[in-house]
Subunit: 346 residues, 2 copies
Amino acid sequence: MAEGDEVSNKQVILRDYVSGFPEETDFELRTSGKIRLKVAQGSKSVVVKNLYLSCDPYMRNRMKNSTGSYVASFSPGSPITGNGVAKVIDSGHPNFKKGDLVWGIIGWEEYSLITEPETLFKIEHTDVPLSYYTGILGMPGMTAYAGFYEVGSPKEGEYVFISAASGAVGQLVGQFAKLKNCYVVGTAGSKEKVDLLKNKFGFDEAFNYKEEQDLDKALKRCLPDGIDIYFENVGGKMLDAVLLNMRLHGRIPVCGMISQYNLEEPEGAHNLFCLISKRVRMEGFLVFDYYPMYPKYRDMVLPLIREGKITYVEDIAEGLENAPKALIGLFSGRNIGKQVVLVARE
Amino acid sequence: MAEGDEVSNKQVILRDYVSGFPEETDFELRTSGKIRLKVAQGSKSVVVKNLYLSCDPYMRNRMKNSTGSYVASFSPGSPITGNGVAKVIDSGHPNFKKGDLVWGIIGWEEYSLITEPETLFKIEHTDVPLSYYTGILGMPGMTAYAGFYEVGSPKEGEYVFISAASGAVGQLVGQFAKLKNCYVVGTAGSKEKVDLLKNKFGFDEAFNYKEEQDLDKALKRCLPDGIDIYFENVGGKMLDAVLLNMRLHGRIPVCGMISQYNLEEPEGAHNLFCLISKRVRMEGFLVFDYYPMYPKYRDMVLPLIREGKITYVEDIAEGLENAPKALIGLFSGRNIGKQVVLVARE
């Protein structure tokens, strides 16, 4: 096949805006798409072949018809986009050449035309799994790093609690906290995940929130001296229980509130008065603001991966046709570890 | 009368713990109290004559039977305590002598025996009204200073919004913000207070929250470009509306949540996701942590008072017998400005 020819390009399409829990039927696998694998003369675009797609909770908000969010809504009828790993097939941009591996925002499709390739990060280290660039070496890794170190301001020996702790971000925050000699407790939604926290990621303690009648009691059992840093991924009832257990001058980096994303009306946080009595700082953050620190993070974490001092669990779905199911599985907690979709092997 | 003799000591007693709105009948004026106006030989205590009492919203939490708060509950059957201005009558402490004026925690009574006088601040400047040491030159002043400058991290020209804006703290935050060239909007609960904000304290805009159907709309009308700093005094629905209107990297110093103090079950804050999308820092603080900065604050604010660059409105109730009514009036917003009780003239 000549690269200038049009080829078939399977795509995952959002049918319409979603309210409530997203379902597989909210998406369509469109097989009629076509793409030219060559950039136009004079264009600074690149064409990439997509290898891995990242399924991330924030994408739920893009399925809503909202204007107030920090990322634009998806366009119904068009392929959705997200973080992923891809290989450059053709480039009009001086920074990229054919064969380069990149990570960044790509389409949920076999091939993507990237019109602003400056947003892509070039992958320079391939002695680790390429899929890691959707996770520990990509956006979630940078999220854990920025949220824990920059927003959380951790000190040696502090008490750290993490929700959605076995997820793409949580498993890293826990391991970073252990490297900082913190006492680390996590919560997740199944026995299997709790085992992972304790036996694979080295958390000091963990509990299955679905089996606790009283989250406040569970926290008091696992963290009788309270919480210095709560890495917030879920919101809702867990946040309310945590607020009752914060220590003086505690910090709550607010990374996400996945328990709230499918609700028409978010649950309220009722215990915010604890922010005052315990002088707690609660701070939302977005990874985009910290991307300039990415090289520093990558250079810190790569040796830790190579030396086995940090581990990363992925849940890899095979094939673009299974991507919608993988994505919506995030919201019922079906995934074990970072949810990735393998689109194509290099 | 010899100072060693016992004298009568009228006291305001909390009858029992309070749930819901406090009422005058929750208090009793006890006229049977007695006190010796001389400290015991060898004691480091001081005996003071109380001149002014400060009525502060945080005292509501001390009327509850709670162990988790940052200040101890009042003891039913005993006189309540709070900030106030007093004159030393006798002293066993080397730092204080008869005739000294002080401010700090005293009893709601005519005379108090202070067993830990180290907690008192000595009043060195008396060319301003003494009652100011319950307000602009006391705990509320220091609260406004710490919350706005230290927690709020204001920048020139930012958009500042203040709830309970004509109160003891709010009126100062607004004036500090104007001195910092911010655009300042406040909300309060009556036309009279709103007029005060605009005409006396120099706020750029103000609204009566009780007359607004939709707080979000009121904020968008007064602050169409959003809010950089929200000085939080009230909690509840106002906080939820504010969260929708925060600007990128906004700050919310959380000083109080007076709208919630009389509720058995606090209202929830439903819009916390905005902390993430707008990267907002919400931080609770207590003035106690900042008391070491008091001399710095006092030396900053005294010239501003003397030069008329800052003004302070007080609502002074006369007589200990009117103290309970003054205190509970805070929770219905009956006071105009800082609520003080005059116990005795010097």
